[in-house]
Amino acid sequence: MPPPLCSRVLLSHPFSPMSLMALREQLNMLVNSMYIEGLLDQQFQQLQMLQDASSPGFVAEVITLFCEDAERILTELTKLVDQAVVEFQKVDAYVHQLKGSSSSVGAQNVKLACIQFRQFCEENNKDGCLNALNVVKHHYYLLRNKFDTMLQLEQRIQAYDSKQQN
């Protein structure tokens, strides 16, 4: 009996050990789990819809921009919230920015954590802000981890496609 189709492809392919189909499946499963766990919301689907042949790296570009932005903001927030006297308006301005970009990219948990954070800013609650910042960081780094895996899979898929064409 000949081996099933998928493993035949796996065995015969000269390039990466995983078939294109398997890579795509892994990526889909990862993204779906992120939706289910609340890391991503509908907005991310919008981004996926906007990616096409004319703009194949769109999602990757947006994710990268988001992560750069987020990390810059988290660094500033850490400094600001650490001060003896916290400048709540400045803190709020940064959290507002992060809320905006997380909303734009579909980073649901991060966005929700930012909304909570802003509450504490409004109340001029330093302890609340310290805590809220940790919650935001927690959600951000969880997301960042999964985004990294997502981008790696995307890259492998794209490379696979271009090798196929050559």
Binding site: S55, L65, S103, S104, V105
Partner: protein
Amino acid sequence: MAVDAEAQFHVLAVDDSLLDRKLIERLLKTSSFQVTTVDSGSKALEVLGLKEDQTSTPALSPEHNEIEVNLVITDYCMPGMTGYDLLKKIKESSSLKDIPVVIMSSENVPSRINRCLEEGAEEFFLKPVQLSDMRRLRPHILKGKHKEQQLHQEENSNTNHIIISSSNNNNMSNKRKAMDEEVLSERTRLRFSSSSLNVI
């Protein structure tokens, strides 16, 4: 060269967030608009050919140093010149006041929305802006372009178009997720058609 029957309109998008600029650019390009993005209100005015302290463009022909912009879409919250400030400058300029302006904001603040609509904004989009929102842009561009034609038509036909254009003051028709403007004008037209039939 292929002849494209549908004109490609040029949208100027203003947002201080790089991420949001990327997003709006992609949304607009996907919807067949030509796009220019800038990161501030003052840069937007430069593109439009207006210096911050001017109220009208210098006496140079449009081909000289500015490109034709058919619509401006701007974020509300920006450092320095806000979207509202930019809107005001455009509406106060004799040469730019007819360019439709759409405001975007991540916050749903009714007083903010009303302020913008009263200042002459065509519409207010809640962020994150969706692909479906792009469909609402073309009518605003076409409305301005066909103003001259409509003026002549209005004199002959019933008052349909006058009612529709004054609906800019009606907040309901301009808020996102409210009735689609085209649907609203359709219904208005029908309403007035039947009432004029009754009069006859």
